[in-house]
């Protein structure tokens, strides 16, 4: 078998890295490495990669200023296909690695690509803490509800009763709802999208990139080998039109081919789906992603526990909060610019000293 080539140096000095002009002219090619992509044919990851590479030029950030950090799992390979700086870490720890990169270097644009096993099982702790700290990183969680790289065990997002190699009698675990988990961790930006819906993925990425601080994006990603069709309700033609509930800030939430269904309040802390014809347009809930308290976003997250029927996608929450380490780093740099051997000398001599002659 030929060697796997995926970690090479980026093509030196694209137009992007020469900061000559006022407007940086970048193209998808500037973000695409020369490495052969090695996911299974038909994997949803290809679609997401294309969307990300296609979207990046519009940020106007040279690829030299970007860092992708990944963990272990199929999604972990993402880093090798982006012609940016990249770090492929160990299982579950990408948010912690990225915290180190982003806090030490606020001048960089730092992206984490992870999966449901990586982020929600072995690395759950780092995910929630990077979100609550509001570290300036963008986390793209490829949720395929299965362990792909280890060949098909159930994951923390697999549905209860899932029959896999490791659960021949069905899993007994209650799955995580990643959006609800992120909201529970007080994430300032929480969104969900679907791998093959390039336009929607791009919209969500755009909002995530514009957000100051940590952005969490769950991407429903089809694993056609070990869990094919898990997201058909919101992904397959003929079904998605009926089941994608697109959340848009400031708009009444309605969906369906003719917008014939919508979301209404059924009681305190609870939303439900209704026919617009029955309840009237005025009864529909208006989405407010900017609301300080995450209550409404959480209610939307609870509207469907699994993408098997009508399921909200889009930006659930997008609020402003102080960004971890940003001002701090400036202060530290200013301070450091002023210290040298003399200050070090003073520091060593601080406290009670005595001299022996």
């Amino acid at each position: 078998m030929s060697e796997e080539r995926s970690a090479s140096v980026g093509r030196a000095s694209t137009a992007a890295s020469e900061n000559g002009g006022d407007v940086l002219k970048l193209s998808k090619a500037d973000f695409s490495s020369d490495q052969e992509t090695r996911w299974c044919p038909g994997c949803g990851d290809y679609a997401v990669l294309a969307s990300v590479q296609g979207f990046m030029p519009e940020l106007g950030i040279p690829p030299d200023k970007m860092v992708f950090v990944t963990g272990i799992g199929c999604a972990g390979r993402f880093v090798y296909y982006m012609d940016t700086y990249g770090m492929h870490g160990i299982h579950g720890r990408a948010p912690a690695l990225a915290t180190g990169v982003a806090t030490s270097r606020p001048d960089l644009s730092v992206w984490v690509v992870t999966g449901d096993g990586d982020a929600l099982s072995i690395g759950g702790n780092h995910l929630i803490h990077s979100l609550r700290r509001n570290v300036p990183i963008k986390v793209l969680l490829f949720n395929n509800q299965i362990y792909g790289l280890t060949k098909g065990q159930y994951s923390p997002t697999s549905e209860e009763g899932k029959v896999t190699k490791s659960t021949p009698f069905g899993s007994q675990d209650q799955p995580f709802n990643p959006v609800a988990l992120a909201l529970g961790a007080e994430a300032t930006f929480v969104a969900r999208t679907v791998d093959t819906d390039r336009k929607h993925v791009t919209e969500v990425l755009r909002a995530a990139a514009a957000h100051r601080g940590a952005a969490f994006v769950e991407i429903y990603q089809n694993c056609n080998v070990f869990n094919d069709g898990a997201f058909d309700a919101v992904r397959a033609k003929g079904e998605k039109e009926h089941n994608q509930i697109r959340l848009e800030h400031g708009k009444r939430v309605r969906f369906g081919p003719e917008g014939e269904r919508g979301v209404v309040r059924s009681g305190p802390g609870h939303l439900e789906i209704a026919d617009v014809a029955d309840v009237g347009e005025d009864a529909l809930v208006v989405h407010d992603a900017k609301r300080e308290d995450p209550g409404l976003a959480f209610e939307f997250a609870q509207l469907s526990q699994r993408p098997t029927g009508p399921t909200p996608i889009g930006v659930f929450r997008d609020v402003d909060r102080s960004v971890y380490g940003e001002d701090w780093q400036r202060e530290l740099e200013d301070a450091r610019a002023q210290v040298g051997p003399e200050e070090l000398e003073k520091l060593l001599h601080a406290g009670d000293t005595w001299t022996v002659s």
Binding site: E3, A7, V9, S17, T99, R336, V339, S357
Partner: protein
């Protein structure tokens, strides 16, 4: 000024012991400062329970502080105290066993109530029966005398007053050894400047204790310890934690790299986090991470970003960080991991010392995963060890593990301040030129380029998967893995050319070499000097700072002695390594009781092996 007998002593070991709420650590550190000002050489050993406030009056709650000071240079906090100050029965019952026979016991008589005696496990009052006959016992009603001394102070209740009894004890012992009172008075003034009644009560208690020593009938002698002759220079008293923090900051200044320190709270390494987090002025960023694993990853992420990534922990945290350290080995990025060792396994004894992580840090990662290991030997030398760890990490683009231990972290000694102009220069030598750049192309030290994000034209991806030599591309090729595995080993082994040879102190052409590593340094040196002086023993000593790679001449040194004795605070880890590496049948002396190795222990081992 007094008719009391003044006795000259050349060395004294005092141990203060009381309930963990009694302020014994404070008394100890104040007495240490007074002693430093008096010009004695000194070494200290705090000894406190793991529980913050164990049930008052019980043996579990006893907190102690030992100080050894002398008129000549000393190397350890002392084996057996000459004087024990016990504030309650629990302190007495747990500590009296370590006191030298005939030593002095000063008790706070007021603490010896029936209730406290019972809690400590005494059947009868040791002050009344004959159990302390072997010692010189002084009963001082410290609590009631403190209360009386502070009666006049407004705003102080009897309860507040009683809490000042530790200052009474400090005053008393300060008088016994002719310590200057100024440093303590100034300290109390400053510490309680916002609380005048508390300040006055503490000062009153301190003076009352001092005056009691001078006037009371029962303390018949007081002692004087002459200042120690020390090499010229400016000195400061530091513990290992302070010295290590200063060493890391110095390394940051010398390298121009911002210090990025991430750690998770753990005894005894937390003190380093507390210390470094105060040094924002030097650009030090500290992060209290969500766990040990995150701390290591954050430091490694910062290293990728071009900063000086450091994390510290103790045994349990080292277990957790192992996978990340392995990643750093694969990424070949500079990083320092500090292990302040404590007694294990598992949670073990968090506040007690041990040096049993050596084999773990050398071999405790999966796969062939070599990295440099350095061990500090004295509190002050933690400064140099910190600098050296950073120097090697940066120059060779490798994670470096620095071993300290509970004893070094907490104990203190006078430290001759280094000259900043003589500190090593550390050059990060970032790669900026895209011409011919390859992520795993090596320089003559076999180190790869440090090309940080943001550098135009040097975009590259690195990870834990095996990499092709030079290009860094992922590779599963058999020849490449073999080659890379050997290359990683060779790169670390080569560092031996860049470290000093093992120095041997052998004034009498001895047949016996005592070889140590880590904090046993003081005990080994002290034992060699004393057995030479007192027993005419011919004994050589040597001490390892670099545990991987070992200095080039170790094999030759081992081969030139008939007997090599290796004292260790573990079950014989270095000795295993030396035997395997050099086929020399070194002899092992091991001690795993949670206490440092004592001078006496090593002396006994030396005397078993030499004919005077």
């Amino acid at each position: 000024m007094s008719d009391k007998t003044l006795e000259k002593k050349d060395r004294v070991v005092v141990r203060f012991a009381g309930d963990s709420g009694d302020g014994m650590q404070l008394v100890g550190s104040r007495f240490t400062d007074e002693t430093a000002v008096a010009g004695n050489d000194l070494a200290t050993l705090p000894d406190f329970p793991a529980e913050i406030r164990a049930p008052a009056g019980t043996p579990h709650g006893v907190s102690a502080f030992q100080i050894h000071f002398a008129s000549r240079d000393i190397l350890t906090p002392g084996d057996h105290p000459n004087v024990l100050v016990a504030m309650n029965p629990a302190a007495l019952i747990t500590q009296v066993g370590s006191l030298e026979r005939g030593g002095t016991v000063i008790v706070n008589e007021d603490g010896f109530t029936d209730h406290n005696l019972k809690k400590a496990g005494y059947e009868s009052n040791p002050l009344e029966d004959e159990s302390l006959d072997d010692y010189q016992l002084f009963r001082v009603p410290m609590t009631s005398m403190t209360v009386r001394a502070t009666e006049e102070i407004e705003g102080i209740t009897a309860r507040d007053a009683a809490r000042c009894k530790n200052l009474f004890a400090l005053g008393l012992v300060s008088w016994m050894y002719g310590r200057p009172t100024d440093p303590t008075i100034k300290w109390v003034d400053k510490k309680f400047e916002d609380k005048p009644p508390v300040r006055d009560a503490n000062l009153a208690a301190f003076r009352a204790g001092y005056n009691f020593g001078e006037t009371a009938e029962l303390l018949a002698v007081h002692y004087e310890v002459d200042p120690a002759p020390a090499p010229p220079g400016t000195y400061r008293n530091v513990n290992g934690t302070q010295a290590l923090a200063l060493g890391l900051i110095a390394a940051s200044v010398q390298s121009g790299l911002q210090l990025f320190y991430a750690s998770y709270p753990i005894t005894p390494a937390s003190e380093l986090l507390h210390n470094l987090s105060r040094h924002k002025r030097f650009g030090v960023r500290t992060i209290q991470a969500e766990d040990e694993i995150a701390a290591a990853n954050m430091a490694l992420g910062a290293a990728f970003g071009g900063q000086l990534g450091v994390t510290a922990t103790s045994g349990p945290g080292m277990d957790l960080k192992a996978e990340t350290v392995g990643l750093a080995v694969a990424l070949e990025l500079p990083m320092v991991i500090i292990d302040v060792q404590r007694a294990g396994p598992s949670t073990g004894m968090p506040t007690k010392t041990e040096a049993a992580d050596l084999l773990m840090v050398l071999y405790g990662r999966h796969g062939e995963s070599p990295l440099p290991v350095i061990a500090s030997r004295t509190p002050g030398q933690c400064f140099d060890a910190g600098l050296e760890a950073v120097r090697i990490a940066v120059k060779y683009r490798t994670p470096v593990i620095l071993l300290s231990d509970t004893f070094l972290a907490n104990s203190s000694e006078p430290w001759a301040l280094p000259e900043v102009s003589k500190l090593p220069d550390i050059n990060p030598a970032f790669t900026t030129d895209p011409t011919g750049f390859e992520p795993y192309k090596r320089d003559r030290n076999l180190a790869r380029p440090w090309a940080v994000p943001g550098t135009p034209g040097l975009r590259h991806r690195i990870g834990g998967l095996e990499k092709e030599d030079v290009t860094g591309n992922i590779s599963y090729e058999p020849e490449n893995h073999e080659h890379m595995t050997r290359l990683r080993a060779e790169r670390i082994a080569l560092i031996a050319d860049d470290i000093p040879e093992l120095e041997v102190d052998d004034p009498d052409s001895a047949d016996l070499l005592v070889l140590g590593w880590g904090s046993s340094y003081g005990a080994i040196q002290g034992a060699a000097r004393r057995t030479r002086r007192e027993n005419g023993a011919r004994v050589a000593t040597a001490h390892l700072t670099h545990l991987n790679p070992l200095p080039r001449n170790v094999g030759q040194v081992l081969g030139s002695y008939k007997t090599v004795l290796v004292p260790e605070m573990n079950m014989g880890q270095l000795v295993k390594l030396l035997r395997a590496e050099f086929l020399v049948d070194c002899e092992s002396y091991t001690k795993v009781d949670g206490l440092p190795i004592f001078t006496r222990d090593v002396m006994d081992e030396i005397l078993k092996r030499v004919r005077p």
